[in-house]
């Protein structure tokens, strides 16, 4: 068995062009495809896949970026928590740059507040061990893909009897916003490509309900350009053959059932919230997780309840991130896109996050093609 050269083989121009030809040959109707995840938006923009596809295929960008959908009031929680010099706030990736109501975690860090950005939640344990006199608060973000890592850290904290680690949980779920978007009937979506790494954990089974309810094919797709192109071909074929199914394109790592060990770990420590406010979209019932009551001594929202503000805050009035996340607008529809709102000085979260639709459009351009 030879070693697979993943990068070379899954970005191979010839393969992409071959699939592109097949799609052009087989398509028999216009199809609006929502790519739920910002990772796919980036693949589509970076490799210019839209240009390789027939005009009948249009992409609608979905709400699948954990940074983009974080409401300002939750960021304000993080900002409040890092004010006390006995606390260390730890979080992942772009989260620190997202504007809250008046500041961002990055701005607080530059003022000397103790905010740490890590590449793995594993580092939370190390930081807590090195700082036994501080309260380490993990500001947890992400969809189903990153939730089991937080559960794993919780388990390790309990096993090692550490007393100085707390969790501010902002873990959100993929199917509820898809349902909310379909129920609102504002966006015209015929099919979805689902993020593969969510389904590595949850399995492809989480989309069965969506296909049954809305008759929209869902193909769970990998993030390489060949993966995305093959997934579009699969969607085209479903329409051609009159099928509406959940299909797994990314069989390299995704199964119908998913990673059951990770799912059980999530069930052990988390339960579904009645409601969670999504930036730009609003309240979506049962769309996020929180720590189970029996572990509330670890829950920063319980432990620091008295100091955390709890009023909803509106987005910048010129920013249309909400409409972009709902699939009813595209970045170039926004008056401030690329002008007042740029990656170095973002007004809205779709520009902050490297996974945001606005950041992808800004970085990879080709706007003339997309305006057609």
């Amino acid at each position: 068995m030879g070693k697979v050269d993943f990068l070379k083989d899954f970005r191979d121009k010839e393969k992409i062009l071959a699939i592109s030809k097949l799609i052009k040959k087989e398509i028999d109707r216009p199809i609006n495809v929502m790519e739920v995840c910002g990772g796919h938006t980036h693949t589509i923009m970076k490799y210019g896949l839209k240009q390789l596809l027939p005009q009948e295929i249009d992409f609608i960008h979905g709400p699948g970026c954990p940074v983009c959908i974080m409401p300002k009031e939750r960021i304000d929680h993080g900002i409040v928590l890092c004010q006390d010099e006995k606390n260390i706030l730890v979080t992942l990736g772009d989260m620190i740059r997202v504007p809250g109501s008046e500041s961002s975690l990055a701005k607080e860090r530059s003022k000397g507040k103790n905010v740490k950005m890590v590449y793995s939640p594993l580092d939370v344990l190390k930081i807590a061990q090195e700082n036994p006199n501080k309260k380490v608060i993990y500001f947890a973000i992400g969809f189903e893909t990153t939730t089991p890592m937080t559960a794993s850290v919780i388990e390790k904290v309990l096993e090692s009897k550490m007393k100085n680690v707390f969790f501010h949980i902002n873990h959100v779920l993929v199917p509820p916003p898809i349902k909310a978007i379909m129920e609102s009937k504002e966006a015209k979506i015929d099919a979805f490509i689902g993020p593969s790494h969510v389904s590595v954990i949850t399995g492809a089974k989480i989309y069965k309900d969506i296909v049954d309810s809305y008759k929209t094919p869902v193909v769970v797709a990998g993030f390489e350009p060949v993966d995305v192109m093959e997934s579009i071909l699969r969607i085209v074929r479903q329409f051609k053959e009159g099928r509406r199914e959940v299909e797994i394109q990314y069989t390299r790592a995704v199964t119908w059932e998913g990673n059951v060990k990770a799912q059980n770990l999530i069930k052990k420590y988390f339960e579904v919230r009645d409601e969670f406010r999504w930036r730009g979209i609003g309240d979506i019932p049962f769309s996020a997780l929180k720590i189970k009551e029996e572990f509330s001594f670890l829950d920063a929202e319980v432990v620091f309840k008295d100091i955390l503000p709890n009023k909803p805050i509106d987005d910048h009035k010129l920013c249309i991130c909400g409409d972009i996340l709902k699939g009813i607008a595209k970045p170039y529809d926004c008056k401030v896109f690329g002008k007042a709102c740029k990656p170095e000085n973002p007004l809205g979260s779709c520009m902050v996050s490297s996974e945001g639709a606005c950041a992808a459009y800004y970085k990879y351009g080709n706007l003339e093609v997309y305006k057609q």
Binding site: K15, A18, T146, H197, R252, A262
Partner: protein, 80 residues
């Protein structure tokens, strides 16, 4: 957040951690979420410092074979 490149397991430790090689970069990751045991030489998918699944190398090769066939089929058809 979603970038995950398959990594080869290089060394496994008793505390559910391992050293993996991702495109030549070596790093320590957690194996805590893996439902199945892994051996040195296996491919795993890493997300934020955790192995989340073993990569099925046969499956990967199988999809590559399908792509090869698509290319071949089109070449024959168009006489390129």
């Amino acid at each position: 957040m979603c970038l995950s490149i398959p990594s080869r397991v290089e060394e496994i430790f008793p505390d559910e951690t391992a050293i993996v090689d991702t495109m030549g970069v070596k790093r320590k990751v957690s194996l805590h979420l893996l439902p199945e045991p892994v051996d040195v030489g296996d491919y795993v998918l890493i997300h934020v410092g955790y192995a989340i699944t073993k990569m099925n190398e046969e499956d990967a090769l199988e999809s590559l074979k399908i792509y090869e066939e698509i290319v071949k089929h089109l070449e024959e058809e168009s006489g390129e």
